[in-house]
């Protein structure tokens, strides 16, 4: 078992400034926000997708028995307390023949095959989170939130050869050609959710000012488009679409009333400790769900080909290196330890959701979260069988191990999930049908 490093929140948050710092600051740091409205009759079902790279040691992951009441395996053990709202889905298969890190992370929520290119003509498929966001995200200030832990800007050799970096830098795609960037800095996520520091009036003024700037710069785009080639015009058109999207968000934010204040400290930036970093981001996702700032979130806990080491739990060899364990028992053991550690961080998030009241139940009751990877046995970049669990009230009756038929395309799961959110008739990449999970 690993030794978990004590989490020290004060290193991570700007806490404890109250004693010597004047009040305006406190007000600046503590955003006013709505606690969840009761809406008991019809709670919103949140969606979450949490990604881990490099798959898992499957024989320590997959429960032996099929069906209800399975026994928890070592890697899944941290999730046992939530067994009544948890299912394990086995026999899912990643599409395509090219087993790379890029095809793994990009396939996870899309079920699609990444087009092999390093250039601008990258092409994947719309991911399940974005399909849902288009359906249920329009009522919240943020249709969706995307976060990650590893900033690979300028890291050379950090992407699969012959594949655009976009395939590995995000797991969320708004369309087959629009990767959604993932935010790494908790402080930035915080300020996106709650605004720049300032009083309520100041934050509102910032929003109004941003809105008028956005409205005005459309004229500049028109100027630019006038004299460029057709392809450049397509590019600039994307900017215009995105400006309109931000404008809609600002309108939604403005129409919200702030009735009740929940205290939350502003994170200071990117914590050095990995566990803390994940913890802060999970906290922000939880509060965003709680305050109904968004109902859809994705989190890439680490990036494919991650060279991160985990000295806290005694792993000083990079994750990617360990994942190519070569069948060596001690390396397999390290990888399983790491798998378990990641699950334990996710379990803390699940616990937080369970402890947060929401309407007639808890946030967990009104969530459907997926935790998994686009790889199976990372030693061979294997695409099958993928490790996947689903947690939350959305799974229906819990403590079940669903064994789909062999080589069920990943996309089939997302077809089913899309239907659960009222998005019928969708297909995801190579999907061929559905997977019954409820």
């Amino acid at each position: 078992m690993f030794i978990s490093k004590q989490s020290l929140p004060r290193r991570t948050f700007l806490r404890g400034m109250g004693a010597t710092v004047a009040l305006p600051l406190l007000e600046a740091m503590v955003p006013a926000m709505t606690a969840t409205a009761k809406t008991a009759a019809n709670p919103h079902m949140r969606f979450g997708g949490v990604y881990i790279p490099h798959g898992a040691i499957m024989d320590q992951y997959r429960p032996a028995a099929e069906g209800a009441g399975f026994e928890f395996t070592p890697i899944l053990k941290p999730l046992e307390p939530f067994k009544d709202s948890l299912i394990v889905v086995s026999n899912l298969d990643r599409p395509g023949d090219d087993d790379s890190h890029a095809t793994a992370s990009s396939a996870w929520l899309s079920g699609a095959i990444a087009k092999k290119t390093e250039g601008q003509d990258f092409h994947l498929g719309t991911t399940i989170d974005q399909v849902i966001a288009k359906k249920i995200g329009q009522d919240t200030p943020f249709p969706s939130l995307e976060v990650a832990t590893e900033d690979f800007a300028g890291y050379v050799g950090g992407c699969s050869p012959a594949y655009a970096c976009a395939y590995m830098n995000t797991i969320s795609w708004a369309s087959p050609t629009s990767p959604v960037p993932m935010e790494i800095n908790p402080r930035v996520v915080f300020e996106r959710l709650f605004g720049r520091p300032g009083t309520g009036a100041q934050r509102a003024a910032h929003l109004r000012q941003d809105a008028s700037v956005l409205d005005s710069i459309k004229a500049d785009l028109d100027d630019l488009e006038r004299n460029v080639g057709a392809n450049d015009r397509v590019r600039l058109g994307e900017y215009l679409d995105n400006i309109r999207e931000i404008e809609r968000r600002i309108q939604r934010t403005e129409t919200r009333n702030t009735t009740q204040v929940t205290e939350l400290d502003a994170p200071i930036g990117v914590p050095q400790n990995y566990g803390e970093h994940c913890g802060v981001l999970f906290d922000l996702l939880a509060v965003a769900y709680q305050a109904d700032l968004t109902r859809v979130a994705t989190f890439m806990m680490a990036r494919e080909a991650s060279m991160k080491t985990y000295p806290d739990i005694g792993i000083t060899t990079p994750h990617h290196t360990i994942s190519h364990h070569g069948g060596k028992p001690d390396v397999i053991k390290s990888h399983a330890t790491l798998n378990t550690y990641h699950v334990s961080l996710f379990a803390k998030f699940v616990e937080k959701l369970r402890n947060t009241p929401d309407g007639d139940g808890s946030l967990l009751d009104h969530s459907l979260l997926f935790y998994g990877s686009g790889m199976s046995n990372a030693n061979v970049h294997g695409p099958y069988p993928l490790p996947l669990v689903a947690v939350g009230g959305g799974v229906g009756k819990g403590h079940r191990h669903i064994v789909a038929r062999e080589h069920t395309p990943l996309g089939n799961l997302w077809v089913t999930v899309a239907e659960m959110y009222g998005c019928d008739g969708q297909s995801f990449g190579e999907s061929t049908g559905r997977v019954q999970i409820t």
């Binding site: 790379s100 990767p179 700037v213 450049d232 931000i246 069948g327």
Partner: protein, 831 residues
């Protein structure tokens, strides 16, 4: 699933790539004669088509139907052929080769044919609209407003990269999240630059890496101090600010290094503003800050609570420091306990470490102060009611007060817009800005108006996106020269990663920038300018993969002395070194051979260079031949190693991709990694392990190219320390070059590269050109690359000759007009 298909293709490719025995002679040393087509058609048929025919399609390549009489018709394929021939990599081992003169003659013939075609039918390519990446954005703000935006990663999200660089237009797409961040950044920056009196207090925290040792003096800190951090911070207003720090704690929440009394010093611009006594008997006795306020203050919290002071600071950029006073010269844990790692998360003894420095404020602001950014922005002051002054009776009578303010605002905003938009602002541009000015003026002061308009400038796509116009009078598919203003931007973003300055804009306005003599002078001026530092951090940082260094974490048990100080020193050394080649305009081959480098005490100790003391970097002669040039530098050697050992494969791959220009194909799936020697068994050195690994023929064919290059560096361990033995057995640093020539150690590798300068210089040129254009190169660009290398050879391969060659090249000076959308999508191929 059909995985076998991929595997077979890989094997074929690998086999075709395999052994190389013969060597193409250096083209600089003799010009082989270009003879008639029929002869070369026969050569190609005899030596190439036996494998590369329509039936076998070895490595997915067939030359069978290609017409040697019309090389340009299949330029893309022939460029692939040339690349292999130039490096002596084809035909493979065992296959017959033509006589060396024929071999070289064919290569030269193909090149000449393609180069001629490029002259008659230039294809300069077409970069897409180019969003400023975050480094460019920060530099542009710095040059527009004389303002340091601080941590730009906190303002803008990470950029995707392609072709090895993060300034590639294709990869710099838009999304609502991203644009939202640009708008928000514009709001913050305009408030900071103007000195918005209503700016809300905020907090900035600087976090130190845990493996950063703090027992030595830090460059820039006051003498007689050790450790800590010196942070550059722009104070928004003349006001009070709270400076606070926290100390490193162990896993059990105990502050490290407080058994004995210590003094923690806070400084602003080198002046001490606060001295806190901690440790020893004061532990747990936080003075006035007691139970009443903090009933549950832990011992460690109590210590941190003492590291807090509120001070008055004038607005503008300042260096804020926190450090420990040195108690005695004898106290130095590194000397007493050289193997205690700062990374140890359990040991609470030793030296204390600063963990964070926070700056919070402003409070009780007294005014915007006199800052460089305000001086830059307010090139004009309204003679009247600006910041609350009463207009004179005369002005009031004439009704000119408002007019004067507007005239002033117009002057300020047109000046800013011209530089931000990189060309004169149009009347429409100005009216849009004045609308924002007027709205701000109505809500507040003259300065409020300027601030609003400035946000509008910074958020404008005309600032954030580089767009190049397409003239209507040029025929579709034809090449045309970019405008003078566009050329000014291409130059400044290439050499400075920033916007053009006044001089460039003026020359563009006068239409003189394209005059060769003017261009030459400007390039030399720009290279000499401080802003050319961007070529070091952005170009060299990515070409040499220095940016990867921050992710290198050598195993602390095997390399206990490695810390962040050494990591930073590695990076700084190579940056200074590359900078010296660039600024002193050396032959770029000196990157491999120079007999000097830059070290401070920490790094000199690592390299065993005597008589270097202190934290300051200085230039030293390298007397140890092995340490010469980049191959002797810890930055390269460490970032191409694994955490626990060297990796000849990774080093070889690094050399192939970055110095030789022939990046190996990715490994096929299903390859087991190296087995480390099992515990208790006889230690095996890395070469023996890898040779066992190469018993697998699939692995062998590629690794036979990479590993022998990497083996030449085996005398340097995973953190770049010289070693004669590995695991007890002597190091065998013999290797082999692509063409089969044997190499002996690092010197042999260096000599092999220097003796074939067109390979290294050509590769560097390709990298620089990719970076300069912000797009991937394709076969159309190769004639330009060859021309630059040829001309540079006549100027001793000076750094400036490469840069001048690039800025005067067709792809840099021209642009291709599109025909239709489908064909405009460049299917760029990576070489």
């Amino acid at each position: 699933m059909k995985r076998t298909v991929f595997l077979v293709a890989t094997v074929l490719w690998v086999v075709s790539f395999g052994f190389t025995v013969l060597r193409a002679k250096n083209p600089q040393t003799g010009t082989p004669t270009v003879s008639s087509d029929p002869q070369y058609a026969a050569v190609v048929k005899q030596y190439c088509v036996t494998c590369h025919n329509d039936r076998l399609k070895t490595a997915d390549l067939s030359l069978e139907k290609l017409d040697v009489a019309d090389v340009a018709a299949a330029g893309e394929t022939w460029e692939k052929v040339i690349r292999k021939l130039r490096r002596g990599a084809m035909p493979p081992a065992g296959a017959r080769r033509p006589a060396q003169t024929t071999y070289e003659g064919l290569t030269a013939f193909l090149e000449t044919a393609l180069d001629r075609a490029a002259v008659s039918h230039p294809n300069p390519g077409r970069p897409l609209p180019h969003r400023l990446n975050r480094a460019e954005y920060a530099n542009a703000v710095r040059d527009l407003l004389t303002l340091d935006v601080g941590d730009v990663a906190a303002l803008l999200p990470a950029d995707d990269s392609a072709y090895g660089f993060d300034n590639i237009a294709e990869a710099l797409g838009a999304s609502s999240v991203l644009l939202e961040r640009y708008v928000t950044a514009a709001g913050r920056i305009s408030a900071l630059a103007v000195g918005d009196p209503d700016v809300a207090p905020g907090s900035e925290t600087f976090v130190l890496r845990q493996d950063y040792s703090q027992d030595q003096h830090v460059e820039g800190q006051p003498f007689g101090t050790v450790g800590g951090v010196l942070a550059q911070y722009t104070f928004p207003l003349d006001a009070e600010y709270e400076l606070s720090a926290s100390l490193m704690r162990t896993n059990v929440d105990a502050t490290r290094g407080v058994e004995d009394p210590r003094q923690v010093e806070f400084t602003v611009d080198g002046e001490r503003v606060f001295l806190a006594a901690i440790g020893g008997s004061t532990v747990g006795l936080p003075g006035q800050d007691t139970e009443a306020n903090r009933p549950k203050l832990s011992r460690s919290d109590a210590i941190d609570a003492q590291l807090r002071v509120r001070v008055k600071v004038k607005a503008g950029p300042r260096a804020v420091g926190v450090d420990f006073l040195q108690r005695s010269l004898g106290e130095n844990t590194r000397k007493l306990q050289p193997f205690r790692s700062s990374l140890d998360s359990y040991d609470a003894s030793g030296m204390p470490h600063i963990r964070t420095l926070s700056i919070t404020g402003p409070f009780n602001a007294t005014g915007p102060g006199d800052t460089p950014s305000r001086r830059r922005i307010f090139v004009c002051r309204p003679t009247s009611a600006g910041a609350g002054q009463t207009p004179t009776g005369q002005q009031r009578a004439a009704g000119s007060a408002v007019k004067t303010e507007e005239a002033c605002a117009t002057e300020i905003l047109s000046t800013l817009a011209r530089r931000a938009y990189r060309q004169p602002a149009t009347e429409a541009d100005l009216q849009r800005l004045l609308e924002f000015y007027r709205a701000g003026r109505r809500d507040g002061t003259f300065e409020t108006g300027i601030q609003r308009a400035l946000q509008r400038i910074l958020a404008s796509p005309k600032f954030v996106i580089r767009v190049e116009r397409e003239p209507p009078d040029v025929a579709p598919g034809a090449a045309y020269a970019v405008s003078d203003y566009e050329l000014a931007s291409r130059l400044s973003f290439f050499l400075w990663s920033s916007i053009p300055d006044e001089e460039l804009l003026n020359l563009a306005a006068q239409g003189r920038l394209k005059t060769p003599a003017v261009l030459d002078r400007q390039v030399r001026r720009m290279l000499a300018d401080d802003r050319a530092e961007a070529l070091i951090t952005n170009f060299a940082g990515q070409w040499l993969q220095l940016r990867n260094l921050r992710n290198s974490v050598p195993n602390e048990d095997l390399f206990p002395a490695f810390d962040d100080n050494l990591r930073q020193a590695f990076q700084h050394e190579t940056e200074l070194f590359f900078g010296s080649i660039m600024r002193e305009d050396h032959n770029v081959l000196d990157l491999l051979t120079a007999n000097y480098t830059f070290v401070n005490e920490r790094l000199a100790k690592h390299y065993k260079i005597p008589n270097v003391y202190g934290s300051r970097f200085r230039r030293v002669m390298v007397t140890d031949e092995a340490r010469r040039g980049l191959f002797g530098q810890g930055s390269i050697l460490t970032s191409t190693s694994n955490a626990n050992r060297t990796s000849p494969t990774v080093r070889g791959k690094w050399i192939l991709a970055n110095l030789i220009g022939m990046p190996p194909s990715p490994p096929p799936p299903n390859v087991p990694p190296l087995k480390e020697s099992a515990e208790g068994s006889t230690p095996v050195n890395i070469r023996a392990q890898m040779e066992a690994h190469r018993a697998n023929p699939v692995c062998a064919s590629c690794h036979q190219l990479m590993d022998p290059l990497g083996f030449a560096l085996e005398n340097f361990d995973a953190v770049g320390t010289w070693r004669a033995r590995d695991n007890g057995s002597p190091i065998d640093s013999s290797g082999r070059f692509l063409d089969g020539a044997m190499l002996n150690g690092v010197s042999g590798l260096r000599d092999a590269l220097v003796s074939r300068p067109d390979i290294f210089v050509g590769t560097l040129t390709e990298k620089l050109l990719t970076y300069a254009l912000g797009r991937g190169l394709d076969h159309h660009d190769m004639p330009a690359v060859r021309k630059i290398v040829r001309e540079s050879a006549n100027d001793d391969y000076r750094f400036s000759s490469l840069v001048l060659g690039i800025v005067s090249s067709t792809p840099f000076q021209q642009r291709l007009k599109g025909t239709d959308v489908a064909r405009e999508l460049r299917t760029a191929k990576s070489f």
